[in-house]
């Protein structure tokens, strides 16, 4: 594999990229062990907070401390404006797509996406057909995963339009960096990510149903303290200044949602739900769900409550539907996609399957319905036996798979012992949609593969996080 594009040093010409010039100079002049000292300090702070993490989650506090790298990932103003435009375009198209799929299905009639791919997709919800959520907004919160292969080569890896998580790390990381490196912030003009919670609050307020009044009641709905993302749920509720509720705190009466309070039932207008569709209403979906709200869908269909995100958004971030995203964007916006898709072979197409089977050792093959790295073959890293086993699965059920080339993810300088070493990174910015428009928080969660050469940024597999700086001007 050729040397990856580096966020600080670029493609290898030796000159430092503009956005990193100040940081590079600062690093040059920094006392040799400063970064390590700050890194230890960060760990101390986080360990203290880590206790808090454990408090909300399970007892295994140490496992839940995600490594934090103190060297920021920096994105220049121009780069960001390109990304921002691309993200807005993409999420707008996704909203239009969902509105159409659950409405007139023009994009199916026009042949943009195959009917069976949508209508038999497990994440398509027939219950939503013909429904319009308040304000016609489906995907209120998206966490789009981006990777980079070159100066202009940003690719979307996944759209994450169900209940994306990770935004609490984006906010906590910034807080930590401002505490550790106030001098660095003084030398850079970094756009604030703290406005995210304010943006989210406004966005949810703007999405309230008709009749909710001037000051709609918003809640965050969590499956409960045993959910792995509970910390984030309570963090967000806290920052938004709204109640963190569990299913049992809500009930539906007369097609209206209420929460039980010490002052009696209080109407709820907007639910930022962190519970999957399947579990949200046992009278409509999985009947044995104990975390949902019985009758919620009746209130939803009656237009009396907003669910963020809407029910049924998963059909838009399905891996097979993903492959059609460039066409979807063109169909709904009339423009070419600003952000590229990773070139993808749809194994359901015989020509593509043949090509994929011919070079399995070079490709990443993913199960359409899989997530979190399950059911995946990473060709270059797999043994012959693994490849052959996967070949059999692929031939047996080609519809279930897509294949992509292994991308050479960009690297960013990362503290490695006492030195800085290039490590592969990705980026998850958060995009908010409401009837008032689409907005992107200036930043995101940068995940970094701490092991040399590793492309896996998942925290469960040794990945860490970095603060992400978007520069002003």
């Amino acid at each position: 594999m050729t040397k990856a594009f580096d966020e600080m040093n670029g493609g290898g010409s030796g000159s430092i990229r503009d956005s990193y010039k100040t940081l590079a100079a600062w690093l040059q002049n920094a006392p040799p062990d400063l970064l390590q000292a700050r890194s230890r300090q960060a760990e101390l702070f986080f360990r203290r907070m880590g206790v808090t993490f454990a408090v909300y989650g399970d007892e295994e506090s140490n496992e839940r401390l995600i490594p934090f790298d103190v060297v920021p990932r920096i994105i220049g103003a121009d780069e960001w404006s390109g990304l921002e435009a691309g993200l807005k375009q993409r999420v707008s198209a996704i909203n239009a797509f969902l509105k159409d799929i659950y409405g007139p299905q023009e994009c199916i009639k026009a042949g943009v996406v195959p009917a069976d791919l949508i209508l038999t997709n497990p994440h398509y919800r027939p219950e939503m057909q013909g429904r319009r959520p308040p304000g016609d907004v489906w995907c209120h919160i998206a966490g789009v995963d981006l990777v980079r292969t070159g100066e202009d080569g940003f690719y979307v890896l996944e759209d994450n339009v169900r209940t994306p998580s990770g935004v609490s790390y984006m906010l906590e990381n910034r807080e930590m960096m401002m505490r550790l490196f106030p001098d660095l912030f003084a030398e850079h003009s970094v756009r604030p990510v703290e406005i995210y919670t304010d943006m989210l609050l406004r966005s949810l307020q703007a999405s309230a149903p008709d009749g909710a009044g001037e000051d709609p009641t918003i809640v965050v709905l969590t499956p409960g303290p045993f959910n792995s993302a509970y910390y984030e749920h309570s963090f967000l509720a806290d920052k938004l200044g709204v109640e963190l509720v569990e299913g049992g705190d809500l009930f539906v009466n007369d097609d209206t949602v209420f929460m039980r309070t010490t002052e009696g039932p209080k109407r709820v207008d907007v639910i930022y739900r962190r519970i999957d569709d399947d579990f949200i209403d046992p009278l409509t979906f999985m009947p044995n769900s104990a975390v949902g709200v019985p009758g919620l869908m009746s209130a939803y269909h009656a237009g009396r409550v907003t669910l963020a995100n809407a029910v049924g958004t998963g059909v838009a971030d399905d891996k097979a539907v993903y492959t059609y995203m460039p066409q979807i964007i063109r169909f709904f916006t009339g423009e070419d996609a600003i952000l590229q898709n990773v070139p993808t072979w749809r194994c359901r197409e015989p020509e593509a399957l043949k090509e994929v089977l011919g070079k399995l050792d070079q490709l990443v093959v993913k199960e359409v319905g899989g997530s979190g790295g399950y059911g995946m073959l990473v060709g270059p890293a797999a043994t012959k036996a693994e490849i052959e086993a996967f070949r059999a699965k692929l031939i047996a059920d080609p519809d279930d798979f897509i294949a992509q080339p292994t991308l050479s993810l960009s690297t960013a300088p990362t503290l490695n012992g006492g030195d800085l070493s290039p490590r592969h990174v990705d980026l998850r910015p958060f995009v908010l949609s409401s009837p008032a428009g689409v907005r992107v928080a200036p930043g995101g969660l940068t995940r970094v593969a701490l092991k040399e050469g590793s492309l896996v940024v998942n925290s469960s597999q040794g990945g860490g996080t970095k603060d992400t700086w978007v520069l002003d001007n």
């Binding site: 209508l119 009930f251 009947p287 009746s298």
Partner: protein
């Protein structure tokens, strides 16, 4: 013919339930084969009923009780005029594409045995194959009350080759999907030819989408296509989706269920008497 239905469902609660929420799919819609007249829902405790229509075209009532109660009876009554269309459904607007009814659910997902069974149906035009599928099911899966419960999957019922109408319908759907034919579940009522008007449970069957004909009913439990003895009430992807009543109680604890169902033909001469009897 005219069929009169009187269907009571009584829930008893171990402790008084503070509040009860239910979704009722108990009200039939008119289409070419059935005209619904004079249909009522009554509850024996004060409750709000909100009527709406779901994406499957079913009439849904959301029921919310108004005060604590230790029991709740929902009674639906009405009369439906039917004609025999050979099982073909016409005059019903469909919001969902037939392709949606190729979706498998936890209850209809085929296992290897159902797949084999479906493949053994052989080739032919779809209508013919569905008739053969219905016949084979009627022959191979015994009707036996109590052999399955409401949560049994098609695969589980098929494995024991026994079940009730719900199981027959779900196995039919499962196998039809394997043959590439959209199929769905129907809950409803059957005016029995043996004159048994008091019934223990409502009936269920399946419908398959046949290109050129549209939705066609198949009742594998009885081995026939629905006639004018049948009243369709609700459709869904599986039994769960077409369940007459789905609900929950707050604070009621263990609940018990009693169903009383009378389905009988209305004779001209009896009409006067009947309406007085129910008045």
């Amino acid at each position: 013919m005219r069929i009169r239905i009187d269907h009571s469902t009584r829930y008893g609660y171990a402790r008084p339930a503070r509040f009860i929420v239910q979704m009722l799919r108990l009200t039939p819609r008119s289409c070419e084969s059935q005209q619904v007249g004079d249909w009522r829902i009554e509850t024996d405790v004060d409750a709000r009923l909100r009527r709406s229509e779901d994406a499957f075209g079913n009439i849904v009532h959301s029921l919310y009780t108004e005060r604590p109660t230790d029991s709740l009876t929902i009674r639906v009554m009405g009369e439906v005029s039917t004609v025999d269309t050979g099982g073909v459904i016409r005059g019903q607007s469909e919001r969902l594409s037939p392709l949606v009814f190729l979706r498998d659910t936890a209850l209809t997902r085929a296992d290897a045995a159902i797949l084999d069974f479906a493949q053994a149906i052989g080739q032919g035009d779809p209508l013919d194959r569905m008739h053969r599928l219905m016949g084979a099911l009627h022959r191979d899966v015994a009707f036996e009350v109590g052999s399955t419960s409401a949560t049994h999957t098609a695969a589980e019922a098929f494995a024991q080759r026994r079940g009730v109408c719900q199981d027959h319908a779900q196995i039919f759907i499962s196998a039809a999907h394997r043959l590439g034919v959209p199929a769905r579940y129907v809950s409803g009522h059957l005016n029995r030819s043996d004159g048994q008007h008091d019934q223990d449970a409502a009936h269920a069957w399946a419908e398959a989408w046949i290109e050129g004909l549209g939705w066609v009913g198949f009742d594998p439990a009885n081995g026939i296509c629905p006639t004018d003895q049948y009243v369709r009430v609700a459709v869904g992807l599986d039994a769960l989706g077409a369940t007459p009543i789905r609900g929950t109680s707050y604070g009621g604890g263990q609940e018990s269920l009693t169903v009383a169902l009378h389905v009988r033909p209305v004779q001209q001469s009896q009409q006067q008497l009947q309406s007085r009897g129910w008045g």
